[in-house]
């Protein structure tokens, strides 16, 4: 029986977290059917084959161009039945997680979100979830035959396995009631690297002294091809928008590299970054608690260190 994977796209391109979901499903050892809704390039959909999908269902109807959660849940519920799939895998996001919940409730599936690793199937089907905001894990058995698994970033590596996928148009009629939530408008940073998806994040704290100094962090982010983030005080002060706030009550990131500049490292901030693979801390206060959570540290004035670091990175390219 195949595993169904819901893939999300942004600006016509498949999101990296969705490629990870395809890779995760492939690693389960079952055939993989991916499903995408709305406007996505066909070539992009075909490229899912490289990550392990055999088949891609595409719901091209323009009314799915906006991510309407209930309507998407109806489509996925129908696709699970049509494909005779028992397992749905998707990536946690503002769209994916609520869809996972609704599909699980409709299909009587065991549900787990914030999943960080492939299941242990030696006794049943046990997934590992991130809990206490990254401070611990829970190993949870999913006992129903049907399962919905929603993945935290980096739960699987999106690696190419060299297959090919056929793209099939797919239509489902969904009730009008599914469109009860009307999306009036959306504002989205475009062209930049999105924070929740980024492989490298450069974050600034109050040590940056004011929004006018963000240019140097943006320069550093640009050479690293990184997203920019900030600490809670910085977003509270209005120096940066809320969607850049990294921490317990903001965005939780899981990049390969997190560079913290002028952030002391309050436990609430660490909760948002503790899934990072490597952490670099630059702070003029040698006693900043963030150094204890770092892999590499520099005690120094950000205004001197950052431009030098940017230049050194440029030179090393």
């Amino acid at each position: 029986m195949p595993t169904l994977v819901f893939v999300e796209s942004a600006e016509g391109k498949i999101k990296k977290t969705s490629l990870e979901a395809v890779a995760y499903a492939h690693a389960l050892g079952t055939p993989v059917t991916a499903i995408a809704l709305g406007a996505v390039d066909t070539a992009e959909l075909e490229s899912l084959g490289k990550y392990g999908a055999q088949k891609v269902l595409h719901v091209a109807d323009s009314k799915f161009n906006q991510g309407v959660i209930q309507a998407y849940a109806s489509v996925l519920t129908q696709a699970l039945a049509d494909e005779k799939a028992d397992i749905l895998v998707l990536a946690d996001s503002s769209l994916g997680t609520p869809i996972a919940a609704r599909v699980a409730a409709r299909t009587g599936s065991s549900l787990a979100s914030n999943v960080v690793a492939l299941p242990d199937t030696s006794t049943g089907f046990v997934v590992k979830r991130s809990i206490y905001t990254g401070k611990a894990f829970a190993n949870v058995a999913l006992n129903n035959a049907k399962k919905v698994i929603s993945l935290k970033k980096n739960a699987a590596e999106a690696k190419e396995v060299g297959g090919a996928a056929s793209v099939t148009p797919y239509t489902v009629s969904v009730p009008d009631a599914d469109f009860a939530v009307k999306i009036l408008s959306s504002e989205k940073a475009t062209g930049e690297v999105l924070l929740p998806e980024a492989n490298i994040v450069v974050s600034g704290g109050r040590g940056m002294k004011g929004p006018e100094h963000w240019g140097m962090l943006e320069d550093l982010a640009k050479v690293l091809h990184a997203a920019t983030g900030c600490s809670k005080p910085v977003s509270d002060l209005g120096w940066r928008p809320h969607h850049e706030h990294v921490g317990q009550t903001g965005v939780k990131v899981a990049p390969q590299l997190y560079v913290a500049v002028g952030i002391s490292g309050a436990i609430q901030h660490l909760a948002g970054v503790n899934s990072s693979k490597y952490i670099v801390v630059i702070n003029k206060d040698a006693e900043a608690p963030f150094f204890k959570a770092a892999d590499y540290g520099i005690v120094g004035d950000a205004f001197e260190v950052i431009p030098k670091l940017t230049e050194a990175l440029k030179a090393a390219k």
Partner: protein
């Protein structure tokens, strides 16, 4: 308008997390429990809406054993009118959502608010599950909620931005900052909270098909490597050749 606010009883954000009984139980010793920070935003917005709407009431609901009652009383002190405690351990999202949906239906609430996620279990799915179980819309994470009659206008955070949506009540919303400022209970609130009604309800039996096996802590972090401020080339070298992340 009847507003239901679902709150969690969770360790303070600065708590050190430990487990006992062979890593099958959270160790509460030395831990201070609070209203979930996101739930606190939901509660604050609910109180604002109550103050702005004649005849509106706010009921708080918690799924938890008796030791969550001080947390519930705090919500009453902040301004909720009454409370319901479902007498059960909140073992998983599906279980909790089933209990909330049952009470929400029985009480005919038109607006159900809660945090975007609990900070212990981090599922982030209870609002969507409750919406599905009741057959009504759910929106999360909500940064702004305005009511005009029966219509809600909400701002929802999405990756790298935000989305404005409009929907008719009834509605479930998962809340986060800056929907409202947290409210701190005053003395009068604390006094009156003692006598506000708190109903204890036994849980509905449900098999969610999800069972905890074991908790675990992440492996300890290695020591930090310090690099001189005038030697950024060394940092570049380490990132490139040791960490291999650039």
């Amino acid at each position: 308008m009847k507003i239901l606010v679902c709150i969690t009883h969770v360790p303070d954000t600065t708590s050190k997390i430990n487990f006992i009984e062979g890593n099958t139980k959270f160790d509460p010793s030395g831990v201070q429990f609070i209203i979930g920070p996101y739930d606190d935003y939901a509660l604050a917005r609910a109180i604002e809406l109550k103050e702005a709407t004649a005849g509106a009431t706010v009921t708080v609901l918690n799924v938890g054993p008796a030791d969550t009652e001080p947390t519930i009383r705090k919500a009453l002190a902040i301004g909720a009118d009454d409370a319901i405690r479902i007498n059960a351990e909140p073992t998983d999202s599906f279980f909790v959502a089933t209990q909330i949906a049952q009470e929400a239906k029985a009480g005919n609430y038109t607006l159900i608010l809660m945090g975007r996620e609990s900070i212990d279990f981090n599922g982030g799915v209870v609002h969507s599950l409750v919406g599905e179980m009741l057959g009504i819309p759910s929106v999360s994470p909500v940064m702004k909620l305005e009511l005009s009659g029966n219509v809600a206008k909400l701002t929802r955070e999405i990756e790298g931005g935000k989305e404005e949506v409009e929907v008719s009540l009834p509605l479930v919303a998962g809340c986060q900052e800056p929907i409202a400022e947290w409210k701190i209970p005053n003395m009068r609130g604390i006094m009156s909270a003692r006598t506000k009604p708190l109903k204890v309800v036994e849980p509905k039996t449900v098999d969610s098909g999800v069972k905890l096996q074991k908790f675990e802590l992440p492996p300890p972090k290695g020591a930090v490597k310090m690099i001189a401020a005038d030697n950024v080339a060394e940092l570049v070298n380490l990132l490139k050749n040791e960490a291999k992340v650039i």
